[in-house]
């Protein structure tokens, strides 16, 4: 199944934990250090470097791109480390996340509350995901190197639904 993550968000609600989906559209990158800064900025009521409403975050810290290459190796990093920051971001409008690994109960509740969705990408598949990135735009925190925020345009980016809008979790025994 193919979904545009920006223009077809109404389809998120029909997805179930475990579904294989090919994502296209725009997504912002952010991992540990960028999350820490975003959360500090929210605390201080500063203007964020990108609009959270209806957007999505990919937890990734790519390798530097070679000359002539659009993006470096870019598989998902472990989402669990972002859990502490995630409920606030979801409550402020983030609609989807792409990462790998478990989320805690507070994130799950925030997903249900905001009808958001958590996708899991194949951990370790950096080269595969690099080839799904068609455009990169620098957004903020360039000093964080691989942890900077970029806007990626992705195409047919293979993921599984990790936690669906109803809170069903692929990693739980029953799913």
């Amino acid at each position: 199944m193919r979904i545009n993550v920006n223009t077809e968000q109404e389809r998120f609600a029909k997805l179930h934990a475990g579904d294989l989906v090919y994502l296209s559209g725009e997504v912002y990158t952010a991992r540990d250090a960028a999350h820490k800064r975003l959360s500090k900025m929210i605390e201080n009521n500063e203007t964020l470097p990108f609009e959270l409403e209806k957007n999505g975050i990919y937890y990734v810290g790519p390798t530097p791109s070679r000359p002539g290459q659009i993006y470096g190796s870019a598989g998902p990093t472990t989402s669990t480390r972002m859990d502490v920051y995630t409920p606030t971001l979801l409550d402020r409008g983030i609609k989807f996340m792409i990462g790998k690994g478990r989320r805690d109960e507070k994130v799950k509740q925030a997903i249900i509350r905001n009808k958001a969705i958590y996708f899991i990408a194949a951990g370790g598949a950096g080269a595969l995901y690099a080839s799904c990135v068609k455009k990169v735009e620098a957004i903020a925190f360039a000093d964080l190197l691989s942890e900077a925020i970029n806007k990626l345009t992705i195409e047919d980016f293979p993921v599984f639904v990790g936690i669906d809008c109803q809170g069903n979790d692929i990693y739980e025994e029953e799913n």
């Binding site: 810290g61 950096g126 080269a127 690099a130 599984f160």
Partner: protein, 279 residues
């Protein structure tokens, strides 16, 4: 005495950065292909994605995983060898040049707690030295990813807990690691020694080829039993459930104190990048 210029070692480290990070080692690729045949549904699809990743990485020369790791080097130095130059610097320079030349990720921060500033050259490496007989130098190097490193654990068990205690600890550690460790994983287990040695043994276990088994039949059997138990946990490739959670359990052991039974579990994801060079 045999004189070895440290530039030789710098070049080996630099070259290894380039050869290690763009392919699965052949033993891993083979184990993954075999495991894929036994899976179905989502688990099979997971393997298909990982094997496709491997093809793209080699063809387009893109690092197989974006976590190109922190470099860990074991230098086994012949007692009849004399190094010409600063060996620590040579190893770190090899890392600096290799990571820059190959556009690998700079993943090391200095001051792990307060500043956490990126060193911007992936140095320093973590380096261990020991002595061996003769005039050779053996270099073992790994580029260790930390998604799996973060899920590793140590326990100081009571001797009375015995084999069952070890099994339970290894299984609990793997269960807790689950999808976060990027399964299928390789499970390195260090048993015995002291509080600091057991994890080092577990790390060394990860340097073995997947086809290697512990030469002691009891430990070999324990490796096989643990692998079977782990693969019954139904974590599966990428945590999507299935028959393949681990590709191999590797155990290393050392004598310990009459009061002790240290056990360490060091987990490596399927992107287990390591090499061995003899000079």
């Amino acid at each position: 005495m045999r004189l070895i210029n440290v530039d030789t070692i710098k070049e080996i480290i630099r070259e290894s950065c380039s050869s290690l990070l763009f392919n699965y080692p052949s033993d891993i690729e083979e184990a993954m292909s075999l495991a894929a045949e036994k899976e179905e549904g989502r688990a099979k699809k997971a393997f298909e994605l990982l094997l496709e990743n491997s093809r793209i990485a080699s063809q387009k020369h893109i690092p197989i995983c974006q976590d190109t790791g922190m470099v860990i080097v074991f230098v086994h130095v012949g007692k009849e060898v004399l190094f010409e130059g600063n060996i620590d610097e040579a190893i770190n320079d090899g890392v600096r040049i290799g990571y820059r030349q190959e556009y690998l990720r700079q993943s090391v921060v200095d001051d792990p707690l307060f500043k956490r500033e990126n060193t911007k050259d992936n140095a320093p490496a973590i380096i261990y030295y020991d002595y061996i007989d003769g005039d050779r130098v053996i270099i073992e190097m790994m580029a260790k990813g930390f998604g799996s490193e973060n899920t590793s654990k140590i326990a100081m068990l009571k001797p009375a807990q015995g084999v069952e205690g070890v099994k339970n600890f290894v299984l609990d550690t793997v269960k807790q690691a689950g999808p976060n460790a990027c399964p299928p994983m390789i499970v390195g287990v260090g048993i015995g020694g002291s509080f600091e040695l057991a994890p080092l043994l577990a790390k060394k276990a990860l340097l073995r080829e997947l086809t290697d088994v512990n030469p002691d039949p009891n430990y070999h059997q324990l490796e096989d039993e643990l692998l079977a138990l782990i693969n019954q946990l139904n974590i599966g490739p990428l945590g999507l459930k299935g028959k393949t959670t681990a590709l191999k359990v590797q155990i290393e052991y050392y004598p310990t104190h009459i009061a002790a039974l240290p056990v360490a579990v060091n987990i490596c994801c399927h992107v287990s990048r390591h090499t061995k060079v003899v000079i």
